[in-house]
Amino acid sequence: MNRKKDKGFESPRPYKLTHQVVCINNINFQRKSVIGYVELTIFPTVVNLNRIKLSSKQCRIYRVRVNDLEAPFIYNDPTLEVCHHESKQRNLNYFSSAYTAAVGAVDPDAGNGELCIKVPSELWKQGDEMKVLKVYIEFSLDQPKGGLHFVVPDIEGNMAERGAHVFSFGYQNSTRFWFPCVDSYSELCTWKLEFTVDASMVAVSCGDLVETVYTHDMRKKTFHYVLPIPTAAPNISLAVGPFEILVDPYMHEVTHFCLPQLLPLLKHTMSYLHEIFEFYEEILTCRYPYSCFKTVFVDEAYVQVSSYASMSIFSTNLLHSAMIIDQTPVTRRCLAQALSQQFFGCFISRMSWSDEWVLKGISGYIYGLYLKKTFGVNEYRHWIKEELDKIVEYELKTGGVLLHPAFCGGKEKDNPTPHLHFSIKHPHTLSWEYYKMFQCKAHLVMRLIENRISMEFMLQVFNKLLSLASTASSQKYQSHMWSQMLLSTSGFLKSISNVSGKDIGPLIKQWVDQSGVVKFFGSFAFNRKRNVLELEIRQDYTSSGTQKYVGPIKVTVQELDGSFNHTLQIEENSLKHDIPCHSKSRRNKKKKIPLMNGEEVDMDLSAMERQGNRSRRKTSTGVFELGADSPLLWIRIDPDMSILRKVEFEQADFMWQYQLRYERDVVAQEEAISALEKFPTPASRLALTDILEQEQCFYKVRMQACFCLAKIANSMMSTWTGPPAMKSLFTRMFCCKSCPNIVKTNNFINFQSYFLQKTMPVAMALLRDMQNLCPKEVLNFILDLIKYNDNRKNKFSDNYYRAELIDALTNSLTPAINISNEVRTVDNLNSDVRLILEEITRFLNMEKLLPSYRNTITVSCLRAIRMLQKNGHIPSDPSLFKSYAQYGHFVDVRVAALEAVVDYTRVDRSSEELQWLLDMVQNDPSHYVRHKILSMLGKNPPFTKASESSLCNEALVDQLWKLMNSGTSHDWRLRCDAVNFYYTLFGLTRPSCLPLPELGLVLNLKEKKAVLNPTIKPEAGGIGGVGALDLCANGGIHTPISGFPSSLEEEHLPMEPPPNGVAPAPHGLKRKAETPLGSPPEPVQFTAQEEEDIDMDTVHDSQAFIYHHLNMLERPSTPGKEPPLVEQTLLSMPATPLPAFIKEPSASKHGEHHHRHHHHDHKKKKKKHKHKHKHKHKHESKDKDKDKDRERERDRDRDAHAFTSSPASGRSLRSPSLSD
């Protein structure tokens, strides 16, 4: 187990970082480049420290010096191209494991890194353990694709006038993208940060701004920051731009920054930040740990909120004026989130990736407490229910979210999450959606812990953790206290048991160490004779994403005499539970009925009596007897949501109605509303209408009731009496007394009724008449609302309201009656649709002249137009959306337009649009938009693995493969999005549209000639697959010899580097295959392949060195002819063999085969190696014919492996036996 008891933190590195200087001398907005240096102060912890591995991506490194001595270095990043060369594999299983291996190979948490520096021998020969080393690295970044984002608007003026700015971003630990560092959350050090920027700009970074000094020419200034609190590199950030500065009026150590012209919005938006501060400081009884706090609002933000040590970067789109209602709670939530992460996430960092859930859990939990305090208990419970529903749905769909994966001892075979198409071993291999759900589950589990040990203890634990950390933070490095600032699962659990004295082991085991949720089915019967409620609770723990629950469960029974809680024990085999009823069946009609909260209410019990007269009711679950004799009003299972569960409970419609009307808990009300959808009766209608009108009722419940009422009305269509649902209600609430067809002039001072006013038309538009059309009356009603909308006297903006009215119009649309597939023209436009289109045109055009906040109206209009197209009212055409999707529109508009294009792509199966979208994924300047396109494509895919489509062709497979293989190496999130999309389209195995590889192989076997399957491009085939084969061969060799899974090897590798520089292990071979090819080479990349050319013991002139290697990179690499093993002088890259292959049981069977292959390769490599550099581009064609056979052979081999290792292998028709 990796949950070591009371063990302190053990660094995976042979040294400890204590201080780092980051100095960026120049930021060029025109060229989007950055030049600077870093200096890391490290204490070796082993006697002979001869290699230092650091994280660095996409930086061009000019020179490295250790204690003023030039040091040779190697820069190798296997994640640039995950699978090498034009492999024809195209199998996601294969990719995923290769990707995991690649990420693991440079994972700083495991002590690895892309940059390997050889400590000059003069230094390590001294062998003094506590001798400080200073590693000085000069680097530059040119047009960075990740890590730093430049926003440079294309207008007149200097950079400051144009509002150009740059900021750091990334998903999880991504600081290595913009400066070399130890990019791990567990390596803390103090910081000195210096940024020299144009005099008109401000550089905002972590820590205290000590001073700002002009350069000698007075055109630039240098911002000097010092961060004395030990902080991990991933928590360092930077934002530079012509920001407007606002010192918080309530807290002068807090400074806010926004882009020019937005200061008024910033002032308003930030006016309540101090309350959040006060709240957190109060509940944690701990002062904010940093001496200052900065908020920066930037354009084209990667995520809405990102927290770093003592600063947070937000999307500028969170800013709003006082007139905006809907954005206000959203923004406040974002601020609260950012601030909670300052305490847990930035100040207290995680020990390892598997401890991430603790930090996300705590920050999410205290954020929840803030929600409860600010927005009220109803909002909080509603939010918890929403989150619970989300996680339940996700887990049931995908098969589970595991909070604390135990990656012990390299037993990779026991993949904890075999149901997922990605590995959860590293943050960077996770799908984004999974990560979001992970965070969601984490805070829900924290809440479960709170339920168990009480909030008081919970806060004590947090306080304890914080005070330990703040004591540690003020210590010098030498005191070895800094690891107190790292939080681990075991540390957290220990703290809990110390503080509360309670054992939460079972809870942790259930929800943290294990994935899945619980699925309950409940039903009941009332036994009149025994006056007992017979409750039956069954579980489904066999379907994916579920788990078995054993333990207590709370059941609340509302009887006539009051509400009673019962705690039942869910055990292995007991399904039935008898609960004695308290009430005598004879009701006293006059008596008030006490509720759970002590309130006593009068209820109209006639519904119950009517039910009684119907006597017995038979349901699928058996007979239950209700009626005049039953004292049961309603029953709730697990009302406090203290289990991560889904409950499907059966009770009679009148019981749901009582629950809706009289239960005071919003969660119960919402559950009742969703249950009532199945009971379209006048009684349900009445209950919903009453709730709608009741002003004490939580507004979100009322909003939900609107939609339920619409559904019920549609089900009751034939028996519905009176005006359309909600119409008279709306009229009564929002229209003028004297003229009921005209809505009052807007006054949104009462937010509850504002939200209701917004929602009711949208729900009403869902009503349908017998012809399945939206009733004319309703449509006219909505059109009148638009017509008479008058906002002149309102102090709030009505943009969201108007947008929802357009949404209502959209909802009213039904498919056009299509006569003989004619082309849609203006003339045959339906008259109602004409009216709708008229409104949409006017709104959309007005928006150009008077844009609304966040262009909400344009967004709604675009959706409406797409709906018109989809329903066949107007010709389907993506060009309008494509123009709105261009860079330069507001991001919400772009996303809405892209959503329409995505939808068009699916409906019209347009390869052109799909291509257009994929081009945008590769080229759009905004990272968020790129991510959004892929995630929308994933949600609404043009086709899926289950369906046939003309779009599914080899070119698309190649394109997507390339995208995830090498095209997205600068953005972890995007790469995972691409993987997700690939999975949605093709599944885990080889895409079906690709030619059967065996076909080509069989031919080869028989003819031994270069007859290729015509669908495989010859040149691709020439190179293809060899990298994969190498991997294969490697794995094959390994398995029989070592018998160890690769991760073990990785673990002991750091201790292994030989002092003489001779490679001990064959696994280095694989590295060589990893020369990036086909992807634009990164400026400096030294792969093991070139090692023979690097004299590690001499000092290189950096420039010459770089160019030399750049040239080398440009030649096509021929994997079949790698230099021999001996050249692995600097073997520092651990091998990353594919687990799938290694653990392949059949591998041993093939072992010999591989050996042979390997030697074969080996020889060839030696042979070819000599003339390698001379031939460069040429040899490929020369040797082509010769190589082809070999290649094909390997191809076959590899495919055979791929299939046996894939989960589908058992079923695969393309059995490897063919090749044997």
């Binding site: 002009y214 010192v247 002068h252 330069g888």
Partner: protein, 301 residues
């Protein structure tokens, strides 16, 4: 002559005043003419006294004019002296001083008045002093409040300061009004957007008829977030209007119409802090507000 002329002088003056004030009112004109006629008689008798037998009308007119001017000037001047000494009614001494000031030898006056050959003319017919036309009887004339000394001038006529709004019967039918406002706005919007669409680039939803439902073409902007986030001018205007109307109701103690401050004032802790804020503002020590330092000379590298 003096005996009769002095009161006549006063009357004359007031007549003149009223005459100059209201040029065409006939009672005042009559009154004025009657005075003039008396003066003419006086001039004529003086001429007779001096031995003239006849005089041209024009000469008499001129002399009348002169004597009228002279008397007027005496009256005006005497009133000035009187007011100079903070009185409201002139006394004999005022007149005497005036006459002296005008270069008239007062000592000769008693002898002249007692001359033997003087003619006695009949007093002018008693004409009712012109009734000051009843100005618009709007409201009650206000009396001085107790703290204003009674000698100070009365309040002017109420009609000069009481506003009497006049209005047409408003269109009271709310429905019609809303209808009108809605259709008016819609017409304006439609005309405007049509115009914009006609004059600029457009996009169309239909291929067969690109003029139906023209959409103003989407044009990317360099800084899209500005338009999307900042309130439009129209909205700002509305905000100001609603703000000012609200502040009328309240007693606004702050001159900060921004929404932010307003919202704060609702919150209990927020209400207190801004009061302290201005004084503190001067001592805020924020590193970002500090002046940028000059480079040190000894910087190496």
């Amino acid at each position: 002559f003096i005996g009769t002329s002095l009161p006549s002088h006063w009357n004359l003056q007031s007549g003149l005043r009223s005459g100059s004030g209201k040029t065409t009112t006939s009672p005042a004109e009559n009154y004025y003419l009657a005075r003039r006629r008396t003066l003419q008689v006086v001039v004529s008798s003086l001429l007779t006294e001096c031995g003239f037998e006849s005089a041209e009308k024009a000469a008499v007119e001129s002399l009348t004019e002169m004597i009228q001017s002279y008397i007027s000037e005496v009256g005006r001047s005497a009133k000035s002296y009187c007011e100079h000494t903070a009185r409201s009614t002139p006394t004999l001494s005022d007149v005497v001083v005036t006459l002296i000031e005008m270069g008239f030898n007062v000592d000769t006056l008693p002898t002249y008045a007692k001359r033997s050959q003087r003619m006695v003319i009949t007093a002018p017919p008693v004409t009712n002093s012109p009734v000051v036309p009843k100005a618009l009887a709007a409201g009650q004339k206000r009396v001085h409040p107790p703290y204003i000394p009674s000698h100070l001038p009365d309040f002017p006529d109420p009609h000069t300061y009481i506003k009497t709004p006049t209005f047409r019967e408003p269109v009271s039918d709310y429905q019609v009004l809303r209808e009108k406002a809605a259709s008016q706005r819609r017409d304006v919007e439609r005309a405007l957007t049509r115009f914009m669409a006609k004059t600029g680039e457009t996009q169309s939803l239909f291929k067969d008829d690109i003029t139906a439902f023209p959409l103003i073409a989407a044009r990317p902007s360099s800084i899209p977030y500005l338009n999307a986030l900042l309130p439009s001018e129209l909205e700002l205007q509305t905000l100001e209007e609603t703000d000012s109307s609200e502040q009328d109701d309240q007693t606004d103690n702050e001159n900060a119409p921004t929404g932010a401050d307003k919202e704060n004032s609702v919150l209990p802790p927020g209400g207190v802090v801004p009061a302290v804020k201005p004084s503190e503002e001067t001592v805020i020590d924020n590193p970002y507000l500090r002046p940028v330092k000059k480079p040190k000379v000894r910087r190496k590298k």
